[in-house]
């Protein structure tokens, strides 16, 4: 079949091209979202349960843009300048200091604001009979779940596009053949015998092309497109599991414990302050409370089945096989104590608003770029740690107050890879 032979070589590049095109588009629209996730999401949500800072829906209507720019870059300066709005906001939020984002450009902040205004937010409903979480909106979430890339959606879209293109090409061919047949029947009709764009312009131009250069350009194009696509694909294959939210053996609800009951993260993840690992609590830690708490009132006088699982594990001395969500590859060394105690980084900065999550999911990409970005933007707290005494003196001598983690060697390979 002549037709299918003609079509075959077109299909793969077209497919690949579309794939990369879609990812490029996604990145463009996602710039604000990306910045939001990296910088704001540890303390703010757009809608829903309040995180550390206030919810951001409608923030551009509440405040002017210039004021917002000043506030975001250095809120403390604005407060100390006596700005009434700023002081009120500060006091309304229990005088929680907002981090400074002087590293963000005006454009970047604006893109965040745009995102905040336009973003659709998933609304989370809890089915009262079954405390499984029902996510009503798969496509977009403020918490950085890249739902757009949901595999099925993407595949369906792609298939659709491919089919459309194929139909387009087929129709084009049909039209051409009809024309030819018409021209054969009416050889005198000038309109019909006028060469088409394909025959009159494209073919002569195509035939005059230098074959070597043309081939090279074509190969290059295909390579770039295919490479881009492969990169995107490989990225997901090397364990980038952002949004990973497996069902745990016990439906432990972080929102209930950390959010509603405000149990400190480190009550359970007790080694985070001094050890490499934050550690998942042992069953006896759970039993400290669940010896007494059984939620009988919610289960018609029966012990909650999930709590019963803990009690059974404890009684039978069988450890619980939790599913690990945050997996760093063996080649990367990460130490919680360094970040939690020395760097004073909030848990939410990396793990997201866990206190709002019924079912915990991987909030950050945990990719190196994500790590490095934070190391670029954060300052070392040289003033309050005896370890940095010399460095602090040296910086003071230079008239500087702070040094970024990056400038202090925080981007060196050997900090994390050995």
């Amino acid at each position: 079949m002549v037709k299918s032979n003609f079509l075959k070589p077109l299909i793969i590049p077209a497919f690949v091209g579309l794939l990369s095109f879609s990812s490029v588009c996604a990145q463009d629209t996602g710039a604000g979202e990306k910045l939001f996730t990296e910088n704001c999401a540890s303390c703010h949500v757009i809608e829903g349960t309040k995180s550390i800072g206030p919810n951001l829906r409608g923030v551009t209507k509440k405040h002017k843009e210039e004021w917002l720019l000043k506030w975001i870059k250095n809120s403390q300066a604005l407060i100390s300048s006596g700005d009434a709005t700023a002081v009120k906001l500060y006091e309304d939020n229990n005088k929680t200091v907002m981090s400074n984002f002087e590293s963000l450009s005006d454009g970047e902040i604006k893109s965040i604001l745009t995102y905040v205004e336009t973003a659709q937010v998933s609304t989370v409903k809890v089915n009262p009979e079954n405390p499984e979480i029902v996510n009503t909106n798969e496509l977009t979430t403020a918490a950085g779940n890249s739902g757009f890339y949901s595999n099925t959606t993407l595949l369906v879209l792609l298939a659709l596009v491919v089919v459309l293109i194929l139909i387009g090409i087929l129709l084009g061919r049909v039209k051409g053949m009809m024309r030819q047949m018409l021209a054969a029947r009416f050889p005198d009709n000038i309109e019909l015998n006028k060469p088409s764009w394909y025959e009159g312009k494209f073919l002569p131009w195509f035939k005059n092309l230098n074959p070597t250069i043309a081939t090279l350009v074509a190969v290059l194009l295909v390579a770039v497109v295919a490479g881009g696509a492969y990169f995107k694909y490989a990225n997901t294959e090397i364990g980038v599991q952002q949004g990973y939210a497996p069902t745990q053996p016990i439906a432990f609800d972080h929102k209930l414990h950390a959010g509603d009951y405000k149990i400190d993260c480190q009550y359970c993840h007790s080694t985070a302050s001094f050890s490499k690992q934050a550690s998942v609590p042992a069953v006896n830690t759970c039993m400290n409370c669940h010896k007494h708490i059984d939620a009988k009132d919610k289960y018609n006088g029966e012990v909650s089945p999930e709590i019963q699982k803990i009690r059974t594990a404890y009684e039978k001395n069988v450890p619980i096989k939790w599913i690990r969500i945050h997996n760093l590859p063996d080649l990367a060394y990460f130490n919680h104590a360094q970040h939690v105690t020395v760097g004073k980084v909030e848990c939410q900065a990396c793990h997201g608003p866990v206190e709002t999550m019924h079912k915990v999911e991987q909030f950050a990409s945990l990719q190196m770029g994500w790590c490095v970005n934070c190391h670029r933007q954060s300052d070392v707290d040289v003033a309050n740690n005896g370890y940095y005494e010399e460095l602090h003196k040296k910086l003071q001598g230079m008239g500087r107050k702070a040094i970024s983690v990056e400038k202090n060697g925080g981007l060196e390979c050997g900090k994390c890879h050995y």
């Binding site: 006896n284 104590a337 390979c413």
Partner: protein
């Protein structure tokens, strides 16, 4: 040129053999092993176009398949009830004891992963290579997991019932029961044994040390009525004379002795003197390699040489000399030794490795004349490390062969391998009514016994040891039992009808003792309890030295055989430990093999060269096709083979190492085992064999790396032989004179540096094993070592230098103490067979140089990496990023120190490398803080960056600066002689900064302007004639020097 002395690593380098020259031209020993790499994946290079398509199709479908996979679900399983002291990610340290040596055990998440020295212990925090490697023994998948009966798996209940029943019936019938153990110095074990004996009264406890010190024990019994091994104090000795005692290698308590010896060899803390050390020996031992004056002699001459020294001392002490039997050695060495010893009476020590009590008596006589008893030798707080006598075991063997013994329990001993006449043991065991072996694995003896009761590894056991009279060390378990094993103490107790656990038994035992100042918890925590020491007394002997001398055998005239104990294979008990098999011998640098070590003289006579093999017959023992190793410094007409090889059973690694068992070459005569034999026949055989030998891998092309000076030269000039090389350290500005491609690094917080003292490095190799354990360095096996692909991050280069024992007057005047012969080296010695130079190969001086990544400030490797996988940190570290490395190997090619190692294979989960990384149990030893490298990446010493990071984090968490000496490298921690110092050069008061300012410090190849972070301290040898220490005027001269050279 300041230093014309030439150093060489081996004969092939010395003689510029074509093979060696060719091999060193290439970056790697051979072409790329594509075949092997592909065969690892069941692919083959000899593929045709169709195969290519298959591979192509496979790859595509593999990618497609992989695309369908989700990342594997990983579990995190916390405790049910978390022990309070165990926190994931935080190591716990427990004090324990390895063979009487106090150690600390590092555990992570309940797994012991590293052994380190206990700085509170008598060896100052050092551990030997065997101790370092012992943790791997815990995870040996071939350990016996259940008790067996007749080779079949059984259970404790059955086995205990049957053993106890048989013991009872034998005892009731009056049949002899024998309990054979190694030296037991555990008070609790001794108590258990007496309970056992009380229950079965026909029992006798037989102490059997495969390599015994019965000569010393017997001699002390004869001379002083004290049948013990004394405690030697090398740190109190200014002059040490050793007759074949390898006290830095494995003699009695070598880790402790190394620690003591190094105290007087350092010259870094304002000392002006070092001890003077004479070594008279047949082989070139580790101790001999560090000696100031070393003279080789045949083993049968040893008695004569000792007599000669006695006579010289007696002359000075105006006592009667021994009339006959003295053997004089060249170079006036014995007279010089006597002079030095006599000048330092009370501060001198003579030791002897002989197992002949007659020789040891004369040595005792010398020590008595020198006033060593009570000063450098302590017979009151004596050593309890070895108590076995050859005669006692011989009596037992007779009982065994005659059938008198009815029931025997072998506990931790392997006489079916280590006894010289194994047939006697084999037949004897067959006659027994009851034969029991308490062992960790199925060794030769356990295989013969009816019942085999698996013993715990020491890291799973409770224990106490009295290593010296009144000095106790404690063992506590650091992991629950891996298999269904039971520690020997409990087994003995159970059979004695006592079901107390080891913990309760030991604790009750100690609490019953009511020792002064003893606290159970404190002793377990520290691992040590020392009762107040008694004061050491002087001792006098009435034994007739002439009588002793008359008993000594006359020197033999033919070739003699020596079955020697190599530093880490010892009696073969650790033969199944791949870390130790892969550790190069300190002197010969051979791994995985034993070999016939012969002198150059005999090699020429036999017309053999390295790579050839010989057939040897010693008495009834015939050894065929033994690979030859030509050992410079070895006495002529001797042939030596190490003990501990040639296992028939005992594990994959032990049998893979193979080799020759030379225990049968030993003989029993006059109540002692003789490790040597005369009347050896040796002939060249037709076969050839390539030893897996690392000595000339990573050739430095004869560049000037070792610096040494004599003590007198150093006393006159603290920068002796180091003038040009000290410049850069003293004056870093001098760099401006060099054209440099590198930007200067801004070391903001720290600048890490290391100093290695060539004076105190003995080359023992403990640092290598320590490094492998800390950094997950894989074992590659014999074949890969042959291909120059060993992976050790730290190696110890051993250099020879000719040093004839006749001093050259010119040199002596110049204060060098060396002779011109030393100036000749590589490629210049074709004429060594000339009559004039014939003894050159008998007299070599040895230098050990640990070589690891130098962490150059201007690192040549960094500039050539196309992917920036090796970079510089602002703390002065040269970092290697495995996940970035694409394996071009440019860096290895560009490294002037040859310290980079390429992963030719994936060494974990690979059946071709079936060592510990190929099974789940073995992998438990891996350090979770260090990446396990994969195929195709380069690796090298990281300055234990995980330790640096850990140390820094602890400081930050405690809101303080890093303390000097707080961060210790794995190699440094393990070093008994303290030859390695690590620290922050940014801190001007740190130990490392002080050493950098020392005038002995030099960088390797600093003419390349690589600006290494490691300095070496020149080796200072006390080899002037006569001893510098006996010359009074030197002290004054030295004092003036120190004034001139103060900074």
């Amino acid at each position: 040129m300041e230093n014309k002395t030439k150093y060489w690593k081996g004969l092939e380098e010395l003689n510029r053999e074509p093979g060696f020259v060719q091999a060193n031209k290439n970056e790697f020993a051979e072409g790329l092993p594509l075949d092997e790499v592909f065969s690892e994946n069941n692919m083959s290079l000899s593929s045709n176009r169709r195969d290519f398509l298959k591979f192509f199709g496979f790859s595509v479908s593999a990618v497609a398949l992989a695309a369908c996979n989700k990342a594997p679900v990983k579990n995190v399983i916390p405790y049910v009830v978390k022990p309070e002291e165990v926190n994931p990610g935080i190591p716990n340290w427990y004090a324990s004891t390895y063979e009487g040596l106090p150690v600390l055990v590092k555990t992570r998440e309940g797994r012991p992963i590293k052994i380190e020295g206990n700085t509170k212990g008598y060896a100052g925090g050092g551990v030997d290579a065997s101790g370092q490697a012992s943790v791997l023994g815990l995870y040996d998948s071939e350990r016996l997991d259940v008790p067996t009966k007749g080779g079949q798996p059984s259970n404790w209940k059955t086995v205990d019932g049957e053993i106890a029943g048989k013991l009872a019936s034998i005892a009731a019938a009056g049949g002899a029961i024998r309990l054979v153990t190694g030296t037991v110095n555990s008070p609790s074990m001794l108590a258990a044994i007496s309970e056992f004996t009380a229950k079965y009264p026909t029992t006798q406890h037989v102490t059997y040390d495969a390599i015994s010190y019965s000569g010393i024990i017997e001699a002390n019994k004869m001379c002083f009525n004290k049948p013990v091994v004394p405690q030697y104090k090398f740190d109190q000795a200014k002059v040490i004379v050793s007759f074949g005692a390898d006290f830095l290698g494995n003699w009695i308590s070598s880790t402790e002795f190394t620690y003591q010896w190094a105290k007087n060899r350092r010259l870094l803390n304002g000392e002006k003197e070092i001890s003077k050390h004479y070594q008279f020996e047949s082989l070139l031992s580790i101790t001999g390699s560090k000696a100031d004056i070393r003279m080789p002699h045949k083993p049968s001459q040893q008695g004569g040489v000792v007599i000669a020294l006695y006579n010289q001392i007696a002359k000075l002490a105006q006592r009667d000399a021994i009339s006959s039997g003295a053997v004089e050695l060249g170079g006036n060495s014995i007279a010089n030794a006597a002079k030095d010893l006599w000048a330092n009476r009370g501060k001198s020590l003579v030791v002897c490795g002989s197992n002949d009590p007659n020789v040891q008596c004369i040595v005792n006589g010398i020590n008595e004349l020198l006033g060593s008893y009570g000063t450098t030798i302590d017979l009151d707080n004596y050593s309890k490390q070895y108590a076995g006598t050859d005669a006692a075991f011989e009596t037992f063997v007779n009982e065994l062969t005659s059938g008198t013994a009815k029931g025997v329990i072998f506990c931790g001993v392997n006489p079916a391998y280590t006894y010289h006449d194994t047939a006697k043991i084999e037949n004897g065991i067959k006659k027994l009514e009851l034969s029991v072996a308490i062992a960790c694995g199925v060794d030769e003896t356990a295989k013969l016994c009816t019942y085999v009761c698996p013993d715990n590894h020491y890291l799973e056991s409770w224990g106490d040891n009295e290593v010296k009279a009144g000095y106790y060390t404690f063992t506590q378990p650091t992991i629950d039992r891996v298999f269904d094993t039971r520690q020997s103490l409990e087994s003995i107790l159970v059979w004695a009808g006592n079901s107390t656990t080891a913990y309760d038994y030991i604790k009750n035992n100690w609490q019953a003792k009511q020792a002064a100042g003893f606290s159970w918890n404190e002793s377990i925590q520290n691992g040590i309890y020392a009762a107040p020491a008694q004061s050491a007394q002087a001792y006098l002997t009435t034994v007739s030295m002439s009588q002793m001398a008359a008993n000594i055998a006359k020197p033999a005239s033919d070739i003699e055989f020596i079955a020697y104990e190599s530093a880490h294979m010892r009696d073969g008990r650790d033969a199944n430990n791949p870390w130790l098999q892969e550790l190069p011998d300190a002197i010969s640098k051979v791994t995985w093999d034993n070999y016939a070590s012969i002198s150059k003289f005999n090699a020429d006579k036999l017309d053999v060269k390295e790579g050839d093999t010989v057939n040897i017959s010693v008495g009834n023992l015939k050894l065929e096709n033994v690979p030859v190793l030509i050992q410079p410094g070895q006495a002529r007409d001797t042939v030596a083979i190490a003990l501990g090889y040639g296992h028939k059973t005992g594990g994959k690694v032990a049998t893979e190492a193979g080799g020759f068992n030379v225990f049968p070459a030993r003989s029993y005569k006059n109540n002692f085992i003789n490790n040597t034999a005369a009347g050896v026949k040796i002939e060249k055989s037709a076969k050839s064999y390539e030893l897996a030998r690392t000595q000339t891998h990573h050739s430095i092309e004869g560049r000037d790396l070792v610096k040494e000076a004599s003590l007198s030269a150093w006393q006159k000039d603290p920068s002796a032989n180091n003038h040009d090389h000290h410049q850069l350290i003293k004056n870093p500005k001098k760099n401006d004179q060099f054209y440099t491609l590198w930007e200067e690094h801004d070391n903001r917080g720290h600048k890490w540096g290391m100093a290695i003292d060539l004076n105190t490095c003995t080359g023992c190799g403990s640092c290598i094993v320590s490094c492998s354990a800390e950094n997950n360095v894989p074992v590659v096996g014999r074949d890969e070592v042959r291909r120059r692909r060993e992976m050790h991050w730290i190696r110890i280069d051993r250099y020879y230098r000719f040093m004839p024992q006749t001093p050259n007057p010119d040199d002596q005047q110049a204060g060098r103490g060396f002779t011109k012969a030393g100036d000749l080296g590589i490629g210049e010695t074709d004429g060594y067979t000339d009559e004039e130079h014939k003894d050159w190969f008998d007299h070599v001086s040895v230098s050990h140089q640990p070589m690891l990544c130098q962490h150059c400030g201007h690192a040549p490797c960094e500039t050539v990496c196309p992917v920036l996988a090796t970079t510089h940190s602002n703390e002065g570290l040269n970092q290697m990023t495995y996940n970035r490395c694409i394996g071009t190997k440019y860096c290895a090619n560009n490294c002037p120190y040859k310290v980079r190692r390429f992963n030719w294979f994936r060494y974990n989960d690979n059946d071709k490398f079936d060592y510990y990384m190929n099974n789940d149990l073995g992998k438990m030893v891996l350090n979770p803080d260090v990446t396990v490298r994969t195929r195709g990446v380069m690796e090298k010493c990281s300055f234990c960056i995980q330790r640096i990071q850990y140390g820094k984090l602890q400081a930050k968490l405690q809101n303080r600066k890093v303390m000097d000496g707080e961060i210790k490298m794995a190699c440094q921690q393990s070093c008994a002689s303290g030859a390695i110092v690590f620290g922050d050069l940014k801190d001007p008061n740190s130990e490392i900064s002080r050493l950098y300012r020392n005038q002995r410090a030099y960088h390797l190849l600093d003419e390349l302007n690589t600006q290494p972070a490691i300095v070496y301290m020149t080796e200072i040898r006390n080899n002037d004639y006569p001893s510098a220490s006996s010359q009074q005027d030197h002290a004054k001269a030295g004092h003036e020097e120190s004034e001139n050279h103060k900074h």
